[in-house]
């Protein structure tokens, strides 16, 4: 297996059969189904606790109508968390490194929030384009700027997730290549890069969890403005 640096980002294929759907849906197999008992085992208890924590955190700022989004936001959060964390294992493919997948997640959800806002409360939604208390001469310029920032949101959401994960994975690959290449030549530097790699791995674990949370949090914020 001679791997180049970008082999980990190619969409997996086996004998011409694309496996991207399998790799995206596989994390669902790792999550135990909620059981029908009152006292569950440790894994189910922890899973329930985490899902309660996530849902509470996301739903507190939203009003009653926004609670309809609880299921999709929580499941999106769990999906991104598991995909990102599983991608840190060796020889795995991370679907969220593909811009196509992230844009497919970000664009429709953002558009849904925007259209909900424009449909139910159009003047309030458009009113978000102008922050309060701006001096009068600045108003036209500010509306242009706010419109641009509104329209760039889905792009930002998708690219943020893609870039963070891709960059992290790529860095891990590069530094481990440096480590293994330097091992016969300069073992001391190799050990140094191993320590860097350890720190980087810990950082990547944190980034994986944070990026998932940020994605979903920003979506819930866009929802808050528009619901």
């Amino acid at each position: 297996m001679n791997l180049s640096f970008f082999d980990q980002f190619t969409s997996p294929c086996f004998l011409g059969i694309p496996l991207i759907l399998l790799s995206t849906l596989f994390p669902a197999l790792l999550i135990p189904a909620p059981e029908n008992r009152w006292l569950t085992n440790r894994l189910s208890t922890l899973q329930l606790w985490i899902i309660h924590l996530i849902t509470k955190q996301l739903m507190i700022p939203l009003n009653k109508k926004g609670h309809k989004w609880a299921l999709i936001l929580t499941s999106l959060m769990v999906l991104l968390l598991t995909i990102n964390l599983l991608g840190l294992l060796p020889y795995t493919f991370t679907p969220t490194t593909q811009l196509s997948m992230n844009m497919a997640l970000a664009f429709p959800l953002w558009l849904a929030t925007l259209l909900t806002g424009l449909r139910n409360q159009p003047s309030a939604s458009l009113g978000h384009l102008l922050p309060e208390g701006t001096p009068t001469p600045l108003i036209p310029a500010l509306i242009m700027i706010e419109t641009t920032s509104l329209l760039i949101r889905p792009l930002a959401l998708g690219v943020r997730l893609t870039a963070n994960l891709t960059a992290g994975h790529l860095l891990i690959q590069l530094i481990s290549t440096a480590t293994i290449t330097l091992l016969p030549i300069m073992p001391a530097v190799s050990i140094l890069s191993t320590s860097i790699l350890l720190l980087l791995t810990i950082l990547e674990v944190a980034v994986a969890m944070i990026q998932a949370y940020v994605f979903v949090l920003l979506l819930s914020l866009y929802l808050q403005e528009n619901i």
Binding site: M1, N2, L3, W38, L39, T40, N41, R42, L43, T45, L46, W49, L88, L89, P90, Y91, I172, Q173, S176, T177, T179, I180, T194, L197, L198, T201, I202, V205
Partner: protein, 228 residues
């Protein structure tokens, strides 16, 4: 659309009772390999059997380059060491936390049950106290009866006093009337006698009496001077 031509879920699903679910999962060595594998190999290869198998497999893959050492190996070593360190250090804490969550659930339900039991016990004690109070009912009624008798007595005596006072007032009135009448008669009579006496004194008698008085006075004054 479900067309239920026959009734559903009318009997229990199975006739035999199921065995209870196991409390803990299967035993695992090194976090990955089930204990049953070691027990399976024990009769033929003893205690070191599975370890020899693992080492042999690893060396086979490495030497035949079925598994190639590349940069991902180093990355694998790093992430696995981070995971193993995390599990070893915080594993027991996470397990204790999960157990605590379950314990709290059970404790809440137990608290409800204990609260209900305590409330009922308090109710029983209060009921017993009420029953004890009932025994003293006789004394209570006697005291109340005495109270009422005293009130009645007091009331009767007050009314008696009122009657006495009223009667005395009337009798005093009669006595006062009689005294007044007697007084008036006496005064009238004295007045009448005086008037008649004064009328009966003629001027002649008046002169004679005055002359007599002057003679008496002279006699007295002589004897009086002698006394001084």
């Amino acid at each position: 659309v479900l067309h239920a031509a026959r009734p559903l879920h009318t009997t229990q699903r199975r006739s035999a009772p199921l065995p209870p679910l196991p409390e803990k999962g299967g035993e695992v060595r090194h976090g990955l390999i089930p204990e049953e594998f070691f027990q399976f190999l024990y009769p033929k290869t003893g205690v070191t059997g599975p370890y020899m198998l693992g080492t042999g497999l690893l060396l086979y893959f490495l030497s035949k380059e079925i598994y190639v050492i590349n940069h991902e190996t180093v990355a694998a070593i790093c992430i696995l060491s981070v995971i193993i360190y995390g599990v070893k250090k915080y594993g027991s804490h996470v397990a204790a936390f999960a157990d605590k969550l379950n314990e709290e659930k059970v404790a809440k339900a137990l608290a409800v049950k204990n609260e209900a039991i305590k409330d009922l016990e308090t109710a029983i004690e209060q009921e017993k106290k009420e029953q004890w109070r009932v025994e003293g009912r006789g004394y209570l009624f006697d005291a109340k009866r005495n109270n009422i008798a005293m009130l009645l007595e007091t009331n009767y005596r007050e009314r008696l006093l009122t009657v006495y006072n009223e009667v005395k007032k009337r009798l005093d009135y009669q006595v006062a009337m009689q005294n007044l009448k007697r007084q008036k008669e006496q005064d009238h009579m004295i007045q009448w006698v005086e008037k008649n006496v004064v009328q009966s004194i003629t001027p002649q008698q008046q002169k004679e009496s005055i002359a007599k008085c002057i003679l008496d006075l002279k006699a007295l004054s002589k004897s009086a001077q002698a006394a001084v």
